[in-house]
Structure formats: structure tokens, C-alpha cells
Symmetry: C2
Subunit: 771 residues, 2 copies
């Protein structure tokens, strides 16, 4: 069970001598893994430990790769987004000098009106003119396989390869991967090509000069002299794919067609969307529709003739989907390529081509959207968007979310957790346990927002009797777990859960009292959908077993108890315990025992809640009552984003240039700290470092006249100011518990320590805040 | 008389408040001029001196512009090539945030297999996806006018503009420019738009937040929210062009069609090639051919509908010329845009489109090539090159250089000089004098190679009764001047001179003896073409008048004497003297007097050489006798480049990856130093700094046993070594005169000074080397 980052990094590490890195989300794990492996002495397929160098930026990483290649070394790097942009000057040079190299990219949005750490193809499309071959992977398995093919093909062709896959959707999705052995990789690489590359390296014993300046007399001719190398690439890639198939049994080609042999309408896509598109096309073909799907795998050099040959002769219209936006262009890149390929190579009347944008910044692309796109040709639009509602320039295709439902025999489990509570780690673990202990195919995908530590995580786990190509989030879970009770009140987490599903809730209230603490809307959903509600006080067990706020072990145990039809409980528990030993063994037996104890207590502590027959009446009025005083923009836009309904905002709701009103954090109280700093006025020295250092602006210090304290609430703390400027005034250091994240920076900077070792600001446990 | 750099910089300076610069050829003069103007206190149209800031790189310049824009300032920068590549990340941000800005680019080749300082569109095409509008100028006049339109249109549209023109061909060509006044510029700018931009600037009194991170929920919608701004650009540009026409009388449009109204074949180009193409199309149409030319001016946003509307309905085939190469693509960018535009917007059967590459790295594009391209459709090739011989992948279109001759009434003067001899400066001067003192249209273009100081310069001057659109080098001069006698032996400079032309030669030998010192081939050409040979010893006059090696004043005087039909001599001389006063006046009356004296002496010193009736017999064997021992590559390739025949090398002659053999400088002796360092062994301290510092590796130091001096030639200098390691050995510091450029770096670093103030290595005049 691997994600694409690890799958690609394994191959890159095995086939390189020099690896220059600079971390950037979502490609960082590739560099981190390569670095860790070399630190541990892991060798490449030739028995050498690759040299991993972290540079000062991606520009430096590209320069280091360029330099290494010029000495005849095998070199690689990993990057994304702006990191890739910084490599552009070196990429032109590396390609111009016909140096074999591979850059592995977890494709990510380039920052425009706003930065985004999420995935689309705007970065890789920004380098399509540099002369690099481009090979695309649509899954972790393919990320491994295309990585191997890219390394093999670049050595034979001398054209450098950019190998990419979708950031997060593919880079971070965990699925079963048939791993390739070092023996097979060695078999794949043409050692003659490696030796030829070495022989071309700069060397004092057979000096040549590179990097000259050329004048108009010869530059143009020299630029055309490389043509034969580019013309040869598609053939070399095809040969390497064939050799790869002979070695591993997995067969690929530059363009892969799926669907009706007599299709009249064909969708063209690249990247992870191929998974969702394939499901849609299969369903449509099963209904007798004459549709098909063409997946592009070798994007550069683009073999126009092979592209046309891959299409059924019956095709009358194509819809090309691009995961990027180039404002002011005649069309997005893949669309332009398809139009040109048909104009040049299609025999007979040219099919009509339309182009759509989808999935910018990891926006979902689902089979329902793919179906809408396949059916969207009356009236025909040349350019459209799908996945959003564009009420401004009316580009968006309407889609019917109900047009697609996942097969009933696929287990679809969704878990809501916090960034630091261990939920994602435990779920990765569960995916691995089920993937390795059953015949089921498993998939794990994890949604973080970009607020990092302390923000919401959603884990999407699928278990299916068939290989899983569902490259989109679960919308209709058959199992749901909420790992933090407080999350229930903030967003509608249960709304699309399949009726009759099990719902696991981490609740401090026990089977008796939990129901009455649930928000009214949650109660209604549970009743209407006849959900089975199970509760466990994971926080108490974790705390009592000394596991702090990491509730994962308890809740993972409960997940396995509630899903024994997937994996018998005893096997699940023993696999969990093996994982505990592997993960915590080196921290000593005590930690292992604590986790074992948590597992045992979880088995005993989970209880089912009796759900009333009747639903309570719906609440009247707006659920975001607190926002009634907020400015219009906050009520219309920010509130929707806070409540997890940002996807539903239409284009008109968003600022045209990325400009947002300030001060909206006051309307978004995350209340996520489980420990907050508590002030001890008696030892405070008024230095104010805490307020200066707080990264969340959650600490304010005010000085005021003593008479202002009249009528202050009980427990309101204050002390006389010790500063000369504020003589005679009182001072209060006030922490805002709902804004504090419990990060502890204020405590770190506080210089005042009492005789008991407690600082003037020090973290204390707070009870979990309840509804 | 201005070049495009100055024309664009004038407008940019007049309409900006913040100008961030970082110099890069060929855009440097724009930054340098802006800097100098602000230093001198020159104001923009609002009476404010723009702040000019030189940054640490182009990345910094783009960042500074971005920052200035965010405060509501009017900001600009200038760049090219790799400089533009470093701006890409900020360009995405500036466009995404809808900040009005203009970058002026003197378009230059991006380094690939080799660096090139020359011009093509590979840099601007590498940023076409960033969301910037792109406006193209084809001449210095247009560079001024489009600069003004770009600044006006960006403010109204909020879409940033990249304004570009061809590096060197346009950036450095001097032609008459009708300059626009500050009043007209002020009239052109919409002050409401300026105020709106200011109001959007970040300001503590009305704070907003920019540069946020967005999640998948809203990024896509926000990215589409800017669509209306891009849709509006073509209309706004058209309106601004109309307002510009009303102000100045000069009318432009986004697409401009020339040629037959019933054309069946149309060429599409962008940039300076439009000049050569227009001449070809006019000639072909005059012969009754149904051809036309479409010039693209607003390249982004590309208005597909307007493009198709600009074409005659009769068109059946288009040939699209791109000045860039994107290996592995489906076609070059403009080609792809035209195919897409026709596929979407053309009514009726789609015309056939072919695409050609031309002019990479300032490769010539001539009317003869344009004619070949217009006629090249049987057999039809989808993709081709023109201007080279591609004997490898057979992409090149053959063209007949004889298919085009310049009109007889255009004076075409070509001057050969050295980088430091003042030739280019004097010729710029002559262009200005003739342009401003006659009714003739003048054009000056100057070819440098990238070896900088000390290398050959060729000045191409045209004077015509009509406006000059000839955006290519003079191939058939009607006047030729060789400012350095030694150049005659190195390359065939006279071969295409029009019979009967005047030939001015700077010769130290006088009218009597010059003939016998001419190379045999030169003698033959002069006789066969019946050239009038005039000589002057400009070197002697310059030296004797204390002007050093700057022979320009003398030779410029002779040029005017030989071309009195262009401008009466008395007016020319008085204009020259005015220029002398303007240029040298501040250095005192003595320098002015010296130049006046040189002019007077030149008038008296020029003599005509009597040319014999019969030509000498041709030499047998290879003219490059010295290369007979050279390696094959040097004889085939390097020699051709050295002799100025590099343009004729076919693709197969050039290395595929920029790799060249080392040590070829030994076959290229430039002998260009007029002063070389002379060694004084008696004061030398053996420190060896001279040899270490010499940038041309022209100084070697050897230690040897005294007996090796036996049989040494007279005058061979040596001294006993003063170092302990070399006790008992002799030492010689040897300068290679033919490799030395006379730069003086060795003298600067030499620490040993004799009692007379002369250093152990010191520059001394050497007599000009003769054939």
C-alpha cells in the first residue's frame, strides 16, 4: 500500500546517483523519503547510495541536477508549482544539451489571485515549451511504472522527461501497488545508454566545451539539429512500455482508448480524472451509449498520428478536458493539441472539438460531471467549465449529482478528525491492514485544509472487491466516524450518509446522555436516515492511558469492531498490535503496553445509543445566528466557507482579484485548543512578549485605570502595572480561548517562572468544549 | 531618429512612477535610459520624477513591480530572455490580482543548447500562459505607439500587458519616429482608471487582504471570476487604438491585413518580419498573385473572431510563421492559435494551415524567404523551417535569394569596423544627420557579434525616398566602407556589392601603394565589379590629431564626400561639427578642435586609387591554408564561422547538443590589439599575477634551464627565477600578440613598477599589422 509520492520516489532513488531536493507541497514526501533512504544507506540498483543534496531553492536544485548531468551522473529532482517555475531556465538548458534526466512532479496549482497548495496542471503546463518529454501517471501504481519507464526512456532518447501525477489526489492517495524489484529495474535500463551518457560527461581527460554563446550564423541550424531525437521519443517510449510489460505484465501505451468501438463522442483527459471518467464511460457504454475515453499518457512529444489512430473512426465529436486555465489563450493546452492533431492527421471530415476546464486547485471531478460533459453537446459550446457554477460568464456545464452512485458492494468510510489527533495516521494504518489481510482492494485519501495543524481532516476509505479507480471523494458514505464531538455543530457532516449506515462518535457523554447533547439537525438526520449510532469516550481512555489527545488507537479499534464483515476482529486486533509494536516499539515497552491497554478498553467501552423513533422538529431561522451582525460578504461568502459549503459558492460570490475583507477571523471561531495558556498575574513581569509572539493574535494586553474594574465579572484577573509609563494603572493579559490553537509559543517566550516552575503564561488542560 | 528601445522607454518613463530594472541584452538600454532620465530629474507626464530602482535580478525587479502595484503605484520594467523567465512567478500573481502594469520586452532567444544574446520570440512565448495581454511592435515608431496604447489599455482593463518587439532588429534599429508629446500621453490615459487603481492599493486606512491561500472549495470559482476582464481587453485595445489615431493620426488594429482583397494564400506573422513579408507580398500582388499578409498585433487575449474577420473570404490556405521552436509540441504557438481560431470561427470549409519556423536567434528573414513561403504549397508541408538548410530532418523550404532585389533608388551603405573604433557611433550620427537634414527616410542597423569589445561591427544604412520597411540586412550594398584594413583578408566583404559602387578603405598605404597590398581576391572583385576605390589613412590622421584609435571622424567625413548626392557636403560638414560640439564640448575646446582638424584633414587626404583594367588570376587551393592541419570539425565548421560564412552551414554541420571541441581559438587569430603589453624582465618580480588574470589566456609563464636558451631568437627575453622552488632556472613571461585584445587587465594587476613609472608589463602601441 503506497501513495504515488512514495511509489515514484522508490524508482527515482533506485535509478539515480545525484538527487537534488528542495521541499514543496505536495512533492515534499518524495524528497524527504529519498533523503531518509540515503541517510539509512539504502542503495540504488547499482549498489551505490545516491547523494541527496538539499539546495537553497528549486532554482538551485535544477542547477545542481544540470551540473550533475554534465558530469555524466544520473540525476533527478522532485517539485511542484512555483518550484517548477524556478527550474524553467535550467530546463531549457538541460533539454537543449540533450541531457537524460527525470523530474518527478506532484502537479500543483500555480499561485495567481491566491496561492493554493492543491492540485491541477497549471505548473506542468507552464513548462510544456521547454523541450522536455512529459509522461503522466493516473495512480500510485502508474506513478511507479511511469517513473521507471521515464528513467529508461530518457537514457535511450537523451530527451529529458518530466513525469507528473496529480498533487494530493494521486500523490497522497494510498492504494495497493505491485512494487517493482531492483532486478527488474536493472533489466529495464539500457546500460549502453548509461555508459554513453557517462562518456559524454565533461572530463579533463577528454575535454569538450558546453554552454557556449552562439551568434545568428549557426544558432538556428543547431536548434534544428536535435529534431531526430524528438522524433524518436514516441517510438522509444512505446518500446520501453513493451519491455516493461514483458517484465511486469502491466501494459501501457502513449494513448489509451476505452469505451465503445463505434463511439461517436469521445472524452480526452490526462491525469487522475481518468479514473472518474472511466467509471462514467463504462456506465454509459453499458447503457448502450456510443461514447469513449482517450487517456493521454505521453503528452510531449505529442504524437499526432498515434493520437488519431487511437480514436475510433466513428468519432464525430471530442470533448477535451484541461486541468488548467490560461486566460487570454485561444484554448487550454490539451484542447489546442487535439485540434491541431485532428486538423493535420484526421482523414475525412474533422470531428468537432470542445474544450472544458475542470478540477482547478483540486476541485472535485466526479463520474457525474464526466457524464454531464459526455452529454453536453446540445447546444454545443466550444469552451466550458465543469464542477462549479459560473453565473458570471456562464461557462459552466450543469451536472446532475444523482446521475452517478457508487456500487453498493463498495465499503465507503468517512472519518472526521483534527490535524493533530492521529486520525489520518490510524486510517492509513487501517487501509494497509485491510489491503494486506483481505482480498479487498483498498484506497485511502485524506483531505486537509491548508490551515495545517489543528484544522479539520477528512479521511475517505474505500474497500472494494474490484480494483478502485474512484479518483474522487466519497459523497455517500456507508460508514461515518466523527473523532471530535465539537465538529458536529460546525458543519453538516452526515447529510449524504447512506440510510442504515453505522455512525461512530467520540463522545464524552456515554450512551445515555449523548443524544441530548447532539445538535438538533444531527438528531434529525440520524432519525431520518436510520443511522446506527455508536459512541465511545476515546478522549477519556486516551488520557487515562497516557496517550494525551491522540484518540486514534481507541477509535481505530471501534472501527474494526463495527466492520467485522470486512475483516474478522481477532485478525484486525492482532494486526493493530503488530503496528503498535512497529511504530512505538523503540520507545520502550511502556508505550506499547499503554496502546495495547487502549485497544482492550475500547473493545469494552463502545456502546450503541438508542435512537428515538421520531425526529425533533427542524430549527427555524438561520443556523449561523452569530453571523447576523457580520458584514454582507462574511454572511454570504466567508460563512459558507467556514461551514464547509464553499464548493457551492457560485463564481459571482468570489472577488475577481483575490482581495478579501480583513478581520473576518472574528467570525470564525475554531475553538480547537485542548490546552490553553493560563495567566498568573502574580509572577507576570508585564514584558508583553506573549502578545507580540502569539502567531494567532489571540493574546491582548490592556492597561486601564483601576476604577474600570468596577463591575468586572468574577474571576477577571488583573495586576498593577510595573512600568513607569503606566504607573497607577492596572494590566490584564487576556487570552482568547476560541482563537488560541494551543501552540505554546507564548509559553516558550515567557521569561517569568514561579517558584513551582510554572510560568506566568502556562498551558493547562481545558475540558473539551461542548455544544 | 530613435531605436525601439529608446522609443518605448520614453513612453514607459513618461507614464510610470516606479521603474524596477535589471539589465539584460538587448533590453538594457531601456533601463539605462530610464535611470539616466530620472537621475537628470526628467518628470513623467504628471510632473513627478519616476523612482528607478535597480534590483539584484529580474526576479527582484518583477517583485518590486508587484509590490509597487499593490500600493496603487504605476509601475513598469524592461527585460528579455532568461530575465523574463525569472519574472514568471510574479507575472502569474500580477495577472491573477488584476494589477495594471506593462513589461516592455526586447524579445531575445532563451538559452538552450547554447546561449544567444540575439532575437526571437522564445522568451515571450514562454510566458503566454501567465494571463498577461501581449501587444507586439514591428518598428521603433510602433514601439512608441504600442507602448502608449499598452499603458492606456492596462489601466482601463486591469489586465497587465507585455509589450514586445524584436531584440536587435527592432530594439537597436534607428529610424525616424514621430514622437508623442506628454500632452498627448496625458490625453490618452484615463485618469479615472488611475484613480481607481490607486483606490484599490493596499492602505492602512482602508485595509483589505491580498495574497491569501485558497482551498479547493473556492479557488476554481475565483479563477473564473476574472473572465469578464479578459473578454473586455480586445474591445478596450481597439478603443485605445482609435483614440490614439484621433490624437496622432496613426491608426492600428489588433490584426492588420495587407494584400489582395481576393487572396487565396495568406501569410500570418508577428514582429519585425512583417516588414520583409510586406515587401514580398506587395511585389507578389503587383505581379497579380492572389496572396496576402496578416500581421498580428494583439496576441493575447487572442480574438479568434476578429482574426477570422480580418481574412479575405477567399482564403484557401494560410502559412503561419513562428519565431520560436518548442520541441515536442504539436506546433509552434501562433500556428496552434490560428488552427484553433479557424476551427472555431471560420465559416465554410476550413482553410489549410501550415506552420513555419524562421529567424531563431536573429537569423535573417528576407522578402526572398517570404516569397518562397508564399509559394511553398506544392507539395504541402504542415511544418517547415525557412532561412536555413536542414539536411537532417529536411524541414527547410528552399528559397531563391535572387527572387528579391531592393529598389534601385535606395542608397544601401555597409561599413565594416571594430567594436571600439567608433564606426557604429559615427554611423548612427550619419543616419541622424541625413534623416534630419533631407527628405530621405533613413534606417541604421548595426550588427555586433557576441564577442563584445574588439570584434567586428557591420553597419547597415539605408536612405530611401519612401518609408523603409526593410527589416533585414543589406545584401547588395551600393556603397561600402572598410574601416580596418586588416579585415579585408579575413572574409569576403565585397562579394555582393552592386557593380560601379564606391568603396572607401582606411589604408595606411596611400593611393600609390594600396593596390599592391590588397588580397588577390579583393583585387579581382574590385576589377570585376568596377568598384571605385577610395583610400584615406584615417589611422594616421586620428593618431596625429590625438584621437587615438578612433578613426570615425575621418571616415565619416569621407563618407559624406563620396555621397554628396544624398546631402550637400557643406551641410554635412556643418552638421558633423555641430555633433562634435554636442558630443565633446564638455571635454573642452581642445578636443573639439582636434575633431574639427581631423574633418579638415580628411577632406584633403582622401584619394582615389587607380584600378587596373585586368583582374589578377584567382589563387589556387584553399584560402585558409593555415587550417590545413586543423581537425576536421575546425576546417568544416569553425573555419566557416570565422570567415563569416556560418549562415551557409547546413544543420548537419552543427553539434546536436551544443558540444564543441575545445582549443579552437588557436585557429582563430583575431590580432585586434592596437596596444599590447610588453615585458620588462629587469623589474618583473615573477609574481605571475598577469598570467592568472589575463581573461584571454594570452600570457604564459615558463621556467626552464638556462641551457634551453641556446639558439633562442634575437630579442627573446628572459630573467633568472627569483623563487626558491625554481632556483637556477630562467623565466620568460610571453604575451601572444595575436590573441591579446589589449584590454590591459594584466597591467592593472602587475605590482612591479620601475623608477620611470613603467610596470613590468605595460601597454605599448604596436603598429597596425598589415597583410
Amino acid at each position: 500500500m503506497l501513495d504515488a509520492n512514495e511509489a515514484a520516489a522508490r524508482v527515482a532513488h533506485a535509478l539515480s546517483e545525484v538527487i537534488a531536493i528542495y521541499p514543496i507541497t505536495p512533492a515534499s514526501p518524495m524528497g524527504e523519503l529519498a533523503d531518509a533512504w540515503s541517510q539509512k544507506g539504502k542503495t540504488n540498483v547499482w549498489g551505490v547510495v545516491p547523494q541527496v543534496i538539499e539546495m537553497q531553492s528549486e532554482a538551485g536544485a535544477a542547477g545542481a541536477v544540470h551540473g550533475a548531468l554534465l558530469t555524466g551522473a544520473l540525476a533527478t529532482t522532485f517539485t511542484a508549482s512555483q518550484g517548477l517555475l524556478l527550474m524553467i531556465p535550467n530546463m531549457y538548458k538541460i533539454a537543449g544539451e540533450l541531457l537524460p534526466a527525470v523530474i518527478h512532479v506532484a502537479a500543483r496549482t500555480v499561485a495567481t489571485h491566491a496561492l493554493s497548495i492543491f492540485g491541477d496542471h497549471s505548473d506542468v503546463m507552464a513548462v510544456r515549451q521547454t523541450g522536455w518529454a512529459m509522461l503522466v501517471s493516473n495512480s500510485a501504481q502508474e506513478a511507479q511504472d511511469m517513473a521507471a519507464i521515464a528513467h529508461a526512456a530518457t537514457l535511450r532518447s537523451r530527451v529529458p522527461f518530466l513525469h507528473f501525477f496529480d498533487g494530493f489526489r494521486t500523490s497522497h492517495e494510498i492504494t495497493p501497488v505491485e512494487t517493482i524489484t531492483h532486478d527488474d529495474l536493472r533489466e529495464l535500463i539500457d546500460m549502453g545508454a548509461v555508459e554513453a551518457h557517462r562518456a559524454r560527461g565533461l572530463h579533463p581527460e577528454h575535454p569538450v566545451i558546453r554552454g557556449t554563446a552562439q551568434n545568428p550564423d549557426v544558432f538556428f541550424q543547431a536548434r534544428e539539429a536535435a529534431n531526430p531525437f524528438y522524433l524518436a521519443v514516441p517510438g522509444i517510449v512505446a518500446e520501453e512500455m513493451d519491455r516493461f510489460a514483458a517484465l511486469t505484465g502491466r501494459r501501457y501505451s502513449s494513448f489509451e482508448y476505452y469505451g465503445a468501438p463505434d463511439a461517436e463522442r469521445v472524452m480526452v483527459v490526462m491525469g487522475s480524472a481518468a479514473g472518474a471518467a472511466l467509471e462514467a464511460v463504462k456506465a454509459a457504454v453499458a447503457r448502450g451509449e456510443k461514447v469513449g475515453l482517450l487517456v493521454v499518457r505521453l503528452y510531449r512529444p505529442f504524437d499526432k498520428e498515434a493520437f488519431c489512430r487511437s480514436l475510433p473512426e466513428t468519432v464525430r465529436s471530442l470533448v477535451v478536458l484541461d486541468r488548467t486555465k490560461e486566460p487570454g489563450s485561444t484554448g487550454e493546452p490539451l484542447y489546442l493539441d487535439v485540434v491541431a492533431a485532428l486538423a493535420e492527421e484526421w482523414e475525412g471530415p474533422m470531428p468537432r472539438v470542445t474544450g472544458g476546464r475542470y478540477g482547478l486547485s483540486s476541485k472535485e471531478f466526479t463520474p457525474a460531471m464526466a457524464l454531464a460533459v459526455l452529454h453536453e453537446d446540445l447546444p454545443p459550446r466550444r469552451h466550458f467549465t465543469v464542477g462549479i457554477v459560473d453565473d458570471v460568464t456562464r461557462t459552466s456545464v450543469r451536472y446532475d449529482a444523482d446521475a452517478w452512485h457508487e456500487p453498493e458492494d463498495v465499503v465507503r468510510a468517512v472519518f472526521y478528525g483534527l490535524g493533530s489527533d492521529g486520525t489520518v495516521g490510524a486510517n492509513k494504518n487501517s487501509v494497509r491492514i485491510i489491503g494486506e489481510n483481505t482480498d479487498l482492494h483498498a484506497q485511502g485519501y485524506f483531505v486537509y485544509d491548508s490551515k495545517k495543524s489543528g484544522s479539520q481532516t477528512v479521511s475517505h476509505l474505500r474497500f472494494s472487491p474490484r480494483p478502485i479507480t474512484s479518483t474522487y471523494l466519497i459523497t455517500e458514505p456507508t460508514f461515518i466516524a466523527v473523532h471530535q464531538f465539537g465538529m458536529l455543530g460546525k458543519a453538516d457532516l452526515l447529510h449524504s450518509t447512506v440510510p442504515g449506515s453505522k455512525f461512530l462518535l467520540n463522545s464524552p457523554y456515554g450512551a445515555e446522555d449523548t443524544w441530548d447533547h447532539l445538535p438538533r439537525d444531527v438528531q434529525r438526520t440520524i432519525v431520518e436516515r436510520e443511522l446506527e449510532l455508536w459512541v465511545v469516550d476515546a478522549g477519556r481512555i486516551a488520557m487515562e492511558e497516557g496517550l494525551g489527545n491522540r484518540v486514534n488507537t481507541v477509535l481505530q479499534t471501534c472501527f474494526f469492531m463495527l466492520n467485522q464483515d470486512i475483516l474478522p476482529l481477532d485478525r484486525a486486533i492482532s494486526a493493530m498490535k503488530e503496528e503498535v509494536v512497529a511504530t512505538y516499539g523503540k520507545r520502550g515497552p511502556e508505550v506499547v503496553e499503554r496502546n495495547f491497554a487502549a485497544i482492550e478498553r475500547a473493545l469494552a467501552a463502545m456502546e450503541q445509543v438508542k435512537v428515538p423513533d421520531a425526529a425533533p422538529p427542524p430549527l427555524r431561522g438561520t443556523p449561523s445566528g452569530a453571523l447576523q451582525d457580520a458584514p454582507d460578504f462574511v454572511r454570504r461568502v466567508t460563512a459558507a466557507m467556514m461551514e464547509g459549503r464553499g464548493d457551492l459558492l457560485p463564481v459571482s460570490a468570489l472577488p475577481v482579484d483575490g482581495t478579501f475583507p480583513t478581520g473576518t477571523a472574528r467570525w470564525e471561531k475554531r475553538s480547537l485548543a485542548s490546552e490553553i495558556p493560563v495567566w498568573s498575574p502574580d509572577i507576570c513581569t508585564d514584558c508583553a512578549r506573549c502578545a507580540l509572539a502569539c502567531p494567532h493574535a489571540a493574546i491582548r494586553i490592556k492597561a486601564y485605570l483601576p476604577e474600570s474594574l468596577e463591575g468586572a465579572p468574577d474571576g477577571f484577573q488583573s495586576k498593577p502595572s510595573s512600568g513607569r509609563d503606566l504607573a497607577g494603572r492596572m494590566i490584564t493579559v487576556q487570552v482568547s480561548p476560541d482563537d488560541c490553537t494551543g501552540c505554546g509559543v507564548c509559553v516558550d517566550v515567557c521569561p517569568a517562572v514561579g517558584s513551582d516552575g510554572v510560568k506566568a503564561l502556562d498551558l493547562r488542560d481545558v475540558l473539551p468544549r461542548r455544544e
